[in-house]
């Protein structure tokens, strides 16, 4: 590589900006599997699943971010990640995530009578569980 072209990555959630920097590579959790993006990548739009976004800095170290469902666009060496939540591995509150996993599991067990309300509750609990487990997994990346 003669000269490394940087890739600009922005990760935003409704609660604010999570990440914004020039990086070497980013791996996104797409709905149909992970997508690795390097500079000069073809323009791309994708739906994101709850998962782990990995970023390799220009100096080669990796950073891990727990991201929620949303969208990502790659255009002209700029990656926009717009998702419902996002936390850097370093700031994840493990206790809170564990607590959330426990609560979500409880709610999944005590599934109520069949009906629209129960269905919606069940779905919400499932989503909460997915998010919390994802946080825990990403937090585990901390060295």
């Amino acid at each position: 590589m003669a000269e490394q072209r940087p890739l600009h990555v922005e990760i935003v959630t409704p609660d604010g900006e999570v990440y914004s920097d020039d990086v070497g590579m980013v791996v996104l959790p797409g709905v149909d599997g992970e997508l690795g993006v390097l500079p000069r990548h073809q323009p791309l739009v994708t739906l994101l699943a709850v998962g782990e976004t990995r970023i390799r800095d220009l100096d080669g170290t990796w950073e891990y971010i727990a991201t929620g469902i949303g969208y990502a666009q790659v255009l002209f060496d700029k990656v926009l990640v717009v998702c419902d939540h996002g936390e850097l591995a370093g700031v994840i509150d493990v206790h809170r995530a564990e607590e959330a996993v426990r609560r979500a599991r409880e709610r999944l067990v005590e599934r109520g009578d069949p009906g629209a309300q129960a269905e919606a509750d069940y779905f919400r609990a499932e989503q909460a569980l997915k998010r919390a487990e994802n946080r825990l997994q990403v937090a585990g990346r901390r060295s």
């Binding site: 935003v12 604010g16 323009p43 969208y71």
Partner: protein, 293 residues
């Protein structure tokens, strides 16, 4: 000259008013802090979401097959969403939005008979626009204090339905953008069709852009487009809400200052009148004593 009692009464009344304006100023300042935090947290998200949509509208061929992206060849009806507050006493905050909306309406009408559909958000805007003889297509109120995302969803759904049905060919949002606590800027954004970026010749020369879609253009745009309209509306609601508190705080501070000034000048007048009365009394006593001697 006004009697001493009248002046005292005036002073008491102005002081009471000042207490109220001072209290309103402080309430607005507290609410402002909260609203400001909310809008500042949302801005990067909304900005990137809108940037993404603009990029797609500019460069993606597949995206142009969607109704919400296509520029209609003939614009006959434009929806103007005027975002105001539910309460007054905020300086020119509400009046500016109403004036701008009416200006747009007149401009479009004179410019080639384009019809305007007014959508009013906020009690103040509804009241003033109705008073000015505007036909309001649809209105929402009771959400300027703490706009919810679900409020934005309702408004967005209405706009999308109307747009898709061909009732309107363009949607413009008129709202106060929160610049700082003492400054609001009136914005007039086109939301639908998704605005396109003006592409420079150099960029066009590099050839058309072919997007990859994961999983497919259809499934992405189908969920992304409504989300985009919702976010655009939500951002306008939050900007407006923070601006309203800022405008009210400034207006109430000015009112409090004016009241204080008025109390000062009234106190001066009171003292002058009192002094005059005393002098008068002394003169009368002296004149009486002289007459007796």
């Amino acid at each position: 000259m006004a009697s001493l009692r009248d002046i005292r009464r005036r002073i008491a009344s102005v002081q009471n008013t000042r207490k109220i304006t001072k209290a309103m100023e402080m309430v607005a300042a507290a609410k402002l802090r909260r609203s400001q935090q909310r809008i500042e947290a949302l801005r990067p998200y909304a900005g990137d979401m809108i940037e993404m949509m603009t990029d797609l509208a500019t460069y993606s061929e597949e995206a142009l097959n969607f109704a919400l992206m296509k520029e209609r060849p003939e614009v006959r009806r434009v929806a103007v969403v005027a975002v105001t507050g539910d309460r007054g006493l905020a300086g020119a905050f509400n009046a500016n939005v109403v004036r701008k909306a009416l200006e747009i309406e007149r401009g479009l009408r004179e410019d080639g008979g384009v019809e305007t559909r007014i959508v009013a958000v906020g009690r103040k805007g509804i009241g003033t626009l109705r008073f000015r003889g505007c036909l309001i297509e649809k209105s929402w109120q009771g959400l300027s204090d703490r706009p919810d995302y679900s409020d934005a969803q309702h408004i967005a759904k209405y706009l999308i339905d109307q747009y898709v049905a061909g009732e309107i060919d363009r949607v413009r949002l008129v709202y106060n953008h929160f610049t700082s606590a003492i400054e609001q800027t009136l914005f007039d954004d086109v939301v639908l069709p998704v605005p396109r970026e003006a592409v420079t010749d150099a960029e066009r020369a590099s050839g058309p852009v072919t997007y990859l879609y994961e999983p497919s253009a259809h499934s992405i745009l189908e969920s992304l487009l409504p989300a985009y309209v919702e976010i655009a509306v939500y951002r306008a609601l939050l900007e407006s809400s923070a601006s309203e508190q800022g405008a009210r705080m400034t207006a109430m501070r000015n009112a409090s200052d004016a009241a204080e000034e008025m109390v000062d000048s009234l106190t001066l007048a009171l003292n002058r009148a009192r002094q005059a009365a005393i002098t008068q009394e002394i003169l009368e006593v002296v004149a009486g004593a002289e007459a007796l001697s």
